[in-house]
Symmetry: C2
């Protein structure tokens, strides 16, 4: 081939070399220029098209680097052999069906609510601003995979004082949310474990662990929490528990059961307890219940915590405290994984803790939630003859257990018709329970006091 | 027991009820008050200690909720039976050995460098400030697990224009870093796959996938990248490739090999190609090489990208583009996992792209890196008789391949003695290669021009 006629548009935004490249590429793709064909020399083509030689060279180089043409020394450029050239994917996408939007209820007793009106926006903005001014390049370099050391120091102090958790900063690993922390933990532990869950349980953790591919087993609970005798029988070597405030039943695991659980872990090499301390901050009566981790004398408890509940869901900041025995394992199997939390966010939360804002925020939230809790308990008094209330004095939801004649689904549907969303305990069950009494969860964190009163009044009428 | 003598300190910061609680708890823990012992009634103890009855009630309630005592209706409070009470973990931690600090070199040719002096701090600060003012509670609510929709729209536009990637926002999943994206992808794909890697390869991805627990297999490369004939023999059903700019060799996979690779994927149900497009932004000659994803007509390519290289390592923001066939799988197995990136960060990067800052930043970085690239290439001219240079014109490192008489380790050690850090290709190999020619990587992104010249001058002297 000696000539290639290309209509160049010198007024186009597209550079000339790119127009030449596009033209030749398209001709090769459609087969108009066949395999083996020699292209005109750069000199000839540049003369023919009346462009500079370097323009043509640039086009040929691009075709070369993408493999459409090949160069033979002293002979020139030839169209390369391409077995089968698939068409470029069509630009138009068939519109993907949108996921259906969740119905919005007038009254929503979600147990996962967080009140964000009390969020300290001004403090957050100020800290964020200060941090972005203070630092420069250091702030945007790769951080410590485990989390910034200063932040881990602040956190280990806080955990000791507030939760009785004993740890050094070296045992703490920071991550973007509790789901991620479980994924990272699975890399550290390896896959050959059977993990026992309380039943009912925190389904989100259960789903993550299940989907990662672990064998899981539900273990029955009594009034004190997970039954250690059943745990022993289950064959599991890791127990996932929420001892300070069982989710969703609200049971506080008493000291006796805690000791039994630790004893179970001590009895066999390789057993571990995962303590998820997800909402211990909210207790409205007396002191917070200390963490199980603080009682562990043989390095068997993996402690999980999060700021998503206590600050805001969009703060993607959770952490785990590894027992010493697993720190070494983390160094080998997990420490090469880059941190998932930006340094900026870590620094904001560090100062938030160190400068006392976190404590103030917690106290404020606790007072707010306590008030809603009290309003709800008061409003529920007329229902005391048809259901039993449990799980009060802590967390952000309570449970109503009904007599046998009631069906959970019926209670929920009746409420829905009046634009009230309530939640059934069966959603939190791993195994379906027969003959279980209908149990409804009412969360109050994100509901105004007036709305609580209104909604409960309607429920009292509906459920009778 | 009728009396308990407790020395209360009314001037202590600790509330009186907590002092009573601490005292009784400690007595139970040490066995001074044995199992079954009846505690004094709240009325008796309050009179005895001269405190209000509610103070004692509060202390008892706390002991009750933690399970140290039990209440028997009409009879009073009794010490609970606790099999074995483990001591609280000792407060003092044996100091954990600090991880040894990495040596700092005067000249460091790291291939993972990023120049942060050109980072647009002011823009970042401004966007961050604007976003925190604009929004209120919405910003701190739980976000879309897949990533904010607006951000995904901006990203899909960018990917189409800049990389020839065809996708709708529904195919994009945002995550905090490429390591996390691979962890999430593994949940979507399930564990029953054998994953082929180019050898040498991007070791970080290899380690993550290996540690997750996948069977992996290294596949030989020729001058065009991964050999499809070898891939076919390997038995793998997923191929992890870097076609636009192979890491670390810098090979651009030509169109013929790309088609062969796609053909391999089309040949069997369930085969996939993972295209890691980690640094396609940096090409100093001609146009960027389009992504393989754009050629895929049968939904077989999973496209991975990141902002950590192109903006800053501490920006924990990567993404994957799933083929339609895997979007449904994601809905089932991955969409319940909460997003790992805060909304604030997503919004900052969205505006960064939409308002043209990203393009400007890329152009600035590209010009900066090109200059360093050119300086390095010029400085290396005197070494051309002892080694061959490859991988130039793109990315942020080049390779020097030496004649047989040289040993890689020797070259590295000689450099280290003069405070110069260079990197050996063998670090990137999965399988050890026999008789391989010594190959050194020189990264230049984070090295000032003067330093490049100085260091190469020393190397030229050393390596002769």
């Amino acid at each position: 081939m000696n000539e290639l006629t290309i209509n160049l548009n010198s007024r186009s935004k597209k550079p000339l070399y790119e127009q030449i490249y596009d033209y030749i590429k398209s001709d090769i793709q459609t087969g108009r220029i066949p395999y083996g064909e020699k292209l005109p020399s750069t000199r000839a083509l540049s003369r023919h098209l009346e462009v500079s030689r370097s323009t043509v060279e640039l086009a040929y180089e691009q075709l070369l680097s993408e493999g459409y043409i090949e160069s033979a020394p002293y002979r020139g450029f030839f169209v390369a052999q391409i077995d089968e050239l698939y068409q470029l994917k069509k630009e138009e996408q068939t519109a993907v069906k949108k996921v259906e939007k969740k119905r919005k209820f007038k009254y929503d007793f979600t147990p996962n609510g967080v009140d964000l009106n009390s969020f300290p926006y001004n403090v957050w903005r100020k800290l964020s601003k200060d941090i972005l001014i203070d630092d420069k390049t250091e702030l945007f370099r790769t951080g410590d995979p485990q989390g910034e050391y200063g932040f881990r120091c602040a956190l280990s102090n806080y955990l000791y004082q507030a939760r009785g958790v004993n740890c050094s900063p070296d045992q703490i690993v920071i991550g973007a949310g509790s789901d991620y922390i479980l994924m990272l933990l699975s890399m550290i532990l390896g896959r050959k474990h059977m993990i026992a869950f309380e039943d009912p349980t925190y389904k989100q953790a259960y789903r993550v662990i299940h989907t990662i591919g672990y064998e899981t087993v539900p273990v029955m609970m009594d009034q004190y929490g997970m039954m250690v005798s059943e745990l022993e029988k289950s064959g599991a070597d890791i127990a996932y528990v929420t001892p300070s405030h069982q989710y969703p039943t609200g049971i506080v695991m008493p000291i006796k059961r805690r000791m039994e659980l630790l004893k179970w872990a001590y009895a066999k090499e390789g057993r571990y307890i995962i303590e998820d301390d997800y909402d211990s901050e909210f207790r409205y009566k007396g002191k917070p219940i200390p963490a199980l981790q603080g009682y562990d004398a043989q390095d068997k408890v993996i402690y999980l915590g999060t700021f998503s509940k206590s600050i805001a869901p969009a703060i993607r900041l959770s952490y785990m405290v590894l027992p010493e025995t697993l720190v070494e394992q983390y160094r080998i199997r997990g420490s090469f994984v880059n941190s998932t939390v930006s340094k900026v966010d870590q620094l904001i939360v560090q100062r938030f803790i160190e400068e006392g804002y976190y404590e103030r925020h917690l106290n404020k939230s606790r007072a707010l939630y306590k008030n809603r809790h009290d309003v709800l308990m008061e409003a529920l008094k007329p229902l005391e003859d048809i259901c039993e209330i449990s799980g009060e004095h802590a967390g952000v939801h309570i449970l109503l257990t009904f007599e046998n004649s009631w069906k959970e689904q019926e209670l929920i549907e009746k409420a829905e018709k009046e634009d009230i969303r309530v939640y059934g305990l069966s959603d939190y069950r791993i195994r379906e329970a027969d003959n279980e009494k209908a149990t409804i969860l009412l969360g109050y964190a994100n509901m105004k006091e007036e709305k609580i009163k209104e909604a409960v009044e309607i429920l009292n009428r509906l459920w009778r």
